[in-house]
Every structure is written in C-alpha cells, then in structure tokens.
C-alpha cells in the first residue's frame, strides 16, 4: 500500500477543468516531483490533497484511509502537511513563535513546544533568526521557515509547493540539500517544482501534469525524454535548463 494514493481525482472551476481524472501514488520514504507547465493544475492538486479543496470526483487515500472531505487541520493531524507557493508567514509573530504553532500540534507545554521549534529551526538552518519577526526575513528564509513550521508538526508526508521559486542558485543548492536531509530523516516528500535542476537532483519519481491530466510518470531520466512531456513543454525554455 502506498502512503498516498490519488485515484481518478477531478476538479472543475466553472468552465475550467483544472484537474481531470488524475491518478498517482507516493510510496513511503520516496521523493516525488509533480511538474508541468504553468496552469497545469499542480497547485489545485495540492489543494485537493491537503483538504483546502474538495474533489468533484475520485478518491484520495492517506495511509489507506480516505481523506476526502476532511478539513486541512485534520489531515495535518494524520501527518500530511503542506507549504504554500506564496509564503504565508505569521508576520507579527517571531520566527520561533511561527514554528511553535506547528510544534504545539504534538506537544501542549510552551517550553516543550519552544524546544521542538528550536530543533526544527536548527534543522533548516534558521536558529540564529529565532528572535526576529517573521516579516523581516528574506524570501529565502521565509521559505525555510515554512518548511520548519511543517517539520515541527512531525509529518509523515510533506508537500512542498515550489520552495525553490525566487531563490538564487546558491539558495537552490541549500534547499536541495535540505529536502535531501528531510528525506533522509524518514519523511516522504511530494513537491511541485519548476527548477528542473532540483527536480533531477532530488526526485526518485516524477509525475507530469498537463491541462489537468497526468501525461507521464516515471524516473526523472525517462521523463525528460518522454515525447508527450517534450511536446507539452514545447516552447518553454525552462524545461531544459
């Protein structure tokens, strides 16, 4: 049984079929990338899996249990946590407090939550920023903060929505290293990514979404040569970068 099973899931917004009968699985302990041109429906799929949207049809199972209709906080409870493409820091709270919100999910006591939050901050390399206001962090730091908050909840499956976006090459390398360490620590990772260098470097499997449909999935090396994928990305230089 796969950790996450997405089965013939569809979602329509008015006249737009954002996701159309998408099926894929994520095995425990793997790193899977979800790629596709802009507007392919990747973030919609994330919203469906994390409970922010309800699918029109199909089923989503996490650890064998259907999670369709559960609210995001209940899904988080089960160990499935996500980040957001547009970072959403709690701006007026300190960096430490931001992560404590995630940590409180597992511990009740403020001191224990602070310890847990510090450990998560250390893991992503933000411990020196613990006392700063989240609003004052750089974009790259805010992305790592998002990851730290998620880690503090103690997830089994982490959904990362374009955590490399807007980062410079050095920062991308740092983030690749971070994702690897998260995977090494036993957390399964599903990520939406545009930076192909990162996709190739970290993913064991790649799922390609185009116009809401999954057109290919497999090993990264196979995917870049897949005729349907090349066709979908035609004209998009980024693919080969």
């Amino acid at each position: 049984m796969a950790l996450l099973e997405v089965e013939r899931v569809s979602k329509r917004f008015g006249g737009l079929q954002a996701v159309n009968g998408a099926s894929f699985t994520v095995e425990e302990g793997s790193v899977v990338s979800l790629i596709g041109p802009n507007g392919a429906g990747k973030t919609t799929l994330f919203n469906l899996v994390s409970g922010f949207l309800r699918p029109d049809a199909g089923d989503i199972r996490f650890q064998g249990r259907s999670i369709v209709g559960l609210r995001p906080h209940s899904i988080c409870e089960m160990g499935l946590v996500r980040t957001f493409q547009l970072v959403k820091p709690f701006r007026h709270l300190s960096v430490l407090e931001n992560v404590m919100v995630g940590a409180y999910h597992r511990v009740r006591n403020p001191a224990a939550a602070a310890d847990r939050a510090r450990a998560a901050l250390a893991f992503v390399g933000l411990l020196e920023r613990a006392g700063m206001r989240a609003a004052d962090l750089t974009t790259s730091e805010q992305r790592r903060l998002e990851v730290a908050r998620c880690l503090a909840t103690g997830p089994r499956l982490l959904l990362l929505d374009e955590v490399m976006a807007g980062l410079n090459p050095t920062e991308v390398d740092g983030m690749i290293g971070l994702v690897r360490r998260i995977a090494a620590a036993g957390v399964t990772v599903l990520l939406i990514e545009h930076v192909m260098r990162a996709v190739m470097a970290i993913s064991e499997r790649v799922v390609v979404l185009h116009h809401g449909e999954i057109i290919a999935q497999g090993l990264p090396q196979e995917i870049v040569r897949h005729p349907k994928v090349v066709e979908a990305y035609l004209g998009e230089e980024a693919m080969l970068a």
Partner: protein, 361 residues
C-alpha cells in the same frame, strides 16, 4: 521522538544558541525589572487613588478602568484572534440583563447572577460565531454580522415587556455587599480595578499558551494556521466564548454601578464602540494596548464632554475621527510607536512604513 529530530549533527549548535539567547535574556532582564517596577508603581497608585482624589476624579477613574476592562475583553477575540467584533454589546447586555432579571425576579445575588450572565453570553457568542464562521464571514463581513446581532438583541429587549421593554429595569435599592450594592463609590472602583487586573493577567498568560498562539496564528493567516493543524473555527469560537463571558461581567458591573439598565444602554452601538476603541487606539493584540487606549481616550472624552457639553454627540464625532486616524496612520496602535521609532533610527531613514496591518479591519 519524530524521525527528523533524531538527526543529531544539526542539533549540535542548539545548545550554543540557547546560551546566547540566555545571555540576551539576561540583558533584557534589567528591562523586565524596570517594567515590573513600573507596573508595581502604577498598581500602588491605583490602589491608593480613592484616598487621594475627590469624588469627581474618582468617578472618572472608575470610567477609565471600566473602559480599559471592556477593551481588554474585546482584545481577546478582536485583537488576538483578529475577529473584529463590532457587536460586543450583545454579550455586555446579556450580562447586565441576566443579572438584573435573576435579582429582581428571584432575589438571586448578582455575584451569582454575573456568572450565569457570563455563561449565557459565552453560549450566545459561540452560537453567533458558529453562524458567522460557518458561512465564511470574515473581516468586515463578520463585523457587520456582529453589529446586526447586537441590534437584534436591542430590538428584542425593547419589545419584551417582562424585562421592562423600553423602560428598562431599575434595581431595587438593597445596599449590601452580598447584593453587589455599595455605599461607597470607592468600593465600585476596587471591584472594577480587580476585574481589570484579572482580565489583563488572563490575557498576558493566554498570549503565551497554545490557545493564545493559535489565536494569533489564525489572525495572521488563516490558511497557514489551518495547514499547520490549527482547527481555526474551533479556536475562533473559543476566543469568542472567553471574550463574551468576560465582557458580560462588565455588563453586570455597569448595572450594579448605575442601578439601571435599558435596551440602549445594554445593546446600543455605543457599548460596542466603547469596547473596541481603546484597544484599537492603544494597540490591538497587545497586553497593554487597551490600558494605554483607555488612558488616552477617557480624559479626552471627559474634556470634550465638559468643554463642548452643550453639543450632544460631539465626543462621539471626536471618537470617530480618532478611530479613523489611528486605523489609517497607526494600525498597530499607540504602542507600536516606540517600535516604529526604533526601526526608523535603525534603518537610518523613514523606511519603517510597511508597519503591519494588524487588527485593521
């Protein structure tokens, strides 16, 4: 232990950072001492005040403390949880009316009646909150809904003969401590002072608990909070219940101090505005904001009332102007001023303009 915590090399420098933080805390220590000395001095003056001043001044002091109390109650749901209630008169009125009915009809002591009122107000808060949040009312829409609820209660009270309709209810004079009726004005002062200290202590404590952190998280970003496992609806209702119960106790105080309550005094929009204004002016979502706001607004109100007393409602226009100015120019309230100045001097320029949108509707 969660798997990622088992990765030890990353945690090696946690201890060092803790030591640093400890040193920083030591440095802050003198600041903390200064703060507690200030708090102690203010408390001492507050406690001795009735011995030092005349009757008029004492009444103004009661008004100030009472106004800070209402604002601190509002602050729980409006400031910390960011749910901008414009209808806290609902819960204030429920407190006052419940106490009055229980005392007049059945002779039940207001000391008991006030808790009955608080419970009823909390239940009403949860009910009205769940109605609003179920239909996803946020920001100004939530404010309008709460405003409408208060108006519904006002009209209900106005048309309900058993509670006196438009005539309201007059408490029979039976002076005794047990009846929450005191011969000395100073006793009322001490009662509301203790209430203010209690609710402020509650807020200060709450801010650092899991609940308080969840309130602030859902205020800052509801989706992010939800994604991190915060049941946002449940915690909004919790904040609503706490805030409603607390302000209901303020309703009882008002009743016992004035010996009288009617639909306008209980459920009128003035009450709702008086509850939110000091918090917003002082600094919503901060422990001391409501107190600072009341400290500024009460004397201002008293002054305009006496200087321009002939023109009814001028002080309300002034309040309106103050509210608009603060929301536009100083969304963090007066308490955010020092931080702004610090930021400005640190950045060596007027760069601190992106001060947050906290609390602003």
């Amino acid at each position: 232990m969660p798997p990622w915590l088992a990765v030890q090399p990353e945690l090696a420098h946690v201890g060092a950072a803790d030591a640093q933080a400890g040193a920083a805390r030591g440095a802050v220590g003198t600041g903390a001492i200064a703060r507690w000395v200030t708090v102690g001095a203010v408390l001492l003056v507050a406690a001795l005040l009735p011995q030092l001043v005349d009757h008029y001044f004492l009444r103004t002091a009661i008004l100030l403390v009472y106004s800070a109390y209402l604002a601190q109650c509002w602050n729980i749901v409006g400031g910390y949880a960011g749910q901008f209630s414009f209808g806290h008169a609902t819960f204030f009125g429920i407190g006052a009316y419940t106490t009055a009915i229980l005392f007049i009809r059945w002779g039940i002591s207001p000391w008991i009646g006030m808790w009955a009122g608080a419970l009823l107000a909390a239940a009403t808060g949860v009910f009205l909150g769940s109605l609003s949040f179920r239909y996803g009312l946020k920001g100004p829409y939530f404010s309008l809904a709460t405003l409408a609820f208060a108006e519904i209660f006002r009209i209900l009270a106005l048309n309900w003969d058993a509670v006196g309709g438009p005539r309201g209810m007059l408490l029979p004079l039976r002076e005794s401590f047990w009846n929450y009726q005191f011969p000395e004005e100073s006793t009322y002062y001490y009662v509301i002072l203790v209430m203010l200290i209690a609710v402020t202590a509650l807020v200060a404590w709450l801010a650092h608990t899991r609940w308080g952190m969840y309130f602030q998280a859902l205020r800052e970003d509801e989706d992010a909070a939800e994604a991190l496992g915060v049941d946002t609806t449940r915690h909004k209702l919790l904040a609503m219940a706490l805030s409603s119960a607390a302000i209901a106790l303020g309703g009882t105080f008002y009743l016992q101090h004035m010996f009288y309550i009617d639909p306008d005094l209980a459920f009128g929009i003035d009450v709702s505005v008086n509850a939110l204004l000091p918090a917003i002016v002082g600094g919503p979502g901060t422990v001391w904001g409501p107190l600072v706001g009341a400290l500024v607004l009460t004397p201002l109100g008293e002054f305009t009332r006496s200087a321009l007393g002939g023109y009814g409602g001028v002080h309300l226009m002034l309040y309106g102007a103050v509210l608009i100015t603060v929301i536009l120019l100083l969304p963090g309230g007066l308490l955010s001023l020092p931080e702004r100045w610090r930021e400005r001097s640190r950045r060596g320029g007027p760069a601190a303009r992106r001060e947050g949108e906290r609390g602003a509707a």
